[in-house]
Symmetry: C2
Subunit: 344 residues, 2 copies
């Protein structure tokens, strides 16, 4: 491996000068610069990032902690994050905890051990928040990427997405279409991560003067399979439903499948709406009507925040960045899974 020193020798200068021309710092004579550049080219020199990181005291990497790489939402977000950090010269290290606290702990330890300069956390709920707070106290910049609890201030810098609003928008769409008997499928416990989406749904319903259905809400997980099960359960419990609100696209897709299993026509017999607008939403048939969440924007905001924190000094950052930045509001994307009721 060619080193700085070899380049320096070949160019007849000292290491400091090479470093200077490479990083554009300090003043370097024009002809010297040329000589150095030539040597670099000739020797095919590439600076050793590890050494640089050690010398600078910080690695050029940002970590993205995700609980499950299996959720298709993950790559879309990761891609956005990767591009944002790359634009700033950083690299992305993926930390897939697989919902395993031990695995998560291992990653966080590595991060403290300067695996990464900053950490982005995707699904704060599946993660040991206290561990993250401890990490932050040790001086590691941390930001939560999708805070969805408007009632509680996040324990760490976060980007918030208004999922309450998303829930409302979804419900309003259904209501405007004329639906009254609307069921709900949640991708989390009732008290879990999706609670505000559901509250938004309920709010819209009550504003419209529509009562929630008895047994009209089924909770599950944030997966297609769970959504399918929930869909079946819901449809069995309340057969005359005309629409189903799902708290996320994955379960919504599952509901679509349940409808197919039962021979129900969507949207003729049943309308279905989700939240997020993952790619799959438009790739499935019927294409899913959903409330699009600003994925890319959230990723960019999160990266912006982490960069700012990384630029700053100690644990608590003297000129601390706003602890909460809000991404723009979710917006309705009408596709083929919703229609006026009774068309079937």
């Amino acid at each position: 491996m060619t080193t700085l020193a070899e380049v320096a020798r070949k160019a007849g200068v000292t290491g400091a000068t090479v470093s200077n021309v490479l990083r554009g710092r300090g003043k370097v004579g024009n002809e010297t610069r040329e000589r150095v550049l030539a040597a670099v080219r000739e020797l095919n020199y590439r600076p050793n990032l590890t050494a640089r990181a050690l010398a600078e005291g910080k690695p050029q990497t940002v970590a993205l902690v995700v609980s499950s790489i299996a959720n298709p939402f993950y790559p879309e977000f990761a891609l956005a994050v990767e591009q944002a950090v790359r634009k700033l010269g950083y690299f992305l290290v993926v930390c897939n905890t697989n919902d395993d606290p031990a695995q998560e702990r291992a990653y966080l330890d590595a991060i403290v051990g300067s695996l990464a300069h900053g950490v982005l956390v995707m699904n704060a709920d599946f993660v040991q928040i206290e561990e993250l707070v401890a990490l932050r106290q040790r001086g590691v910049p941390v930001v939560l990427c999708m805070w969805e609890k408007p009632d509680t201030p996040p324990p760490l810098p976060s980007v918030a997405v208004d999922f309450f609003r998303a829930g409302m928008v979804a419900a309003e769409h259904l209501i405007k279409l004329g639906h009254r008997r609307i069921g709900a499928v949640l991708g989390s416990e009732l008290s879990g991560n999706h609670i505000w989406r559901y509250r938004g749904f309920c709010e819209a319903m009550s504003r419209a003067g529509i009562d929630l259905l008895e047994n009209g809400t089924v909770c599950g997980h944030d997966t297609i399979d769970a959504g399918r099960n929930a869909g079946h359960a819901l449809l069995a419990a309340v057969p005359d439903l005309t629409a189903i609100f799902a708290s996320n696209d994955l379960p919504a897709l599952g509901v679509l499948q349940a409808a197919a299993d039962l021979g129900l026509d969507v949207p003729g017999d049943l309308s279905v709406i989700g939240i997020t607008d993952i790619q799959l939403a438009h790739q499935v048939r019927p294409a899913l009507t959903t409330v699009a969440v600003p994925i890319q924007e959230s990723a960019e905001l999160a990266v912006e925040m982490i960069m700012q924190m990384m630029r700053e000094k100690g644990p608590e950052g003297s000129s601390a960045p706003a602890m909460l930045r809000e991404a723009s509001v979710p917006r309705l994307v009408v596709r083929a899974s919703t229609a006026r009721p009774g068309k079937g």
Copy 2:
């Protein structure tokens, strides 16, 4: 940040000793060890990976180069890779080139600059192979993860998957079901990446004495959308098709959509089969019959190879590992998208 030295001071020993107890090297007195461990715990010490990497001359990371994180196959493979490398104490750095040679170059430069100790490349065709070969010559371990060209020996260590066989298996399934008028949708150019899958398909057809249809093959990209377009084109050109072979699951899913668009019942009017068995395949309705490729196994083989290479010395590794290791054969997974013809 607590350092080795601080721990050493606190334990009343020297750095070397701390290092020894931490890594289990050398002999350390039992009581000394205890003292050191106590200090470590007390100070919450975590070794600095950057410094360690510098001192050891190699980072604890492996890079995975992918051309497009958008392909849903990516996360499944990445997950398998991530878990395999983690098990060995390495970290995964994701390098998403986005099909941009400049971006790819930037990553490879960084890797030479010891971003990673070894590189796994997923989609060799979308990548500048020569660059990878150059990388290898500079001493960086590189392995190609899914070599699918049985006729050309790979230019680099690779794990091969028998896609020719996969194509045959798919076709044979259709044929055994009684189909004769079978179209093909390719997720690449005819001469492109999926050629061997297609050749396998053709081979099975000819062995069964079935002629390929005139205009019965449409080429496109490896995406759902392209598959849908191809499906429409194919169905328009050869309306009396009873089955379609797709060279990959994504295009197969697109064909499913095209069928839905046209009001065709699958599998009543049309059978569809894909290759790979990505998760989506069973999440879609009708669930896709496909030929499962050993994703996890390939990932593990690839990781095994890269680890072996990393253990060895120079560019060409004295006791070079087999340059080609083959993953087990693809196997048929029958689901709901195929049936005997003429049931519609």
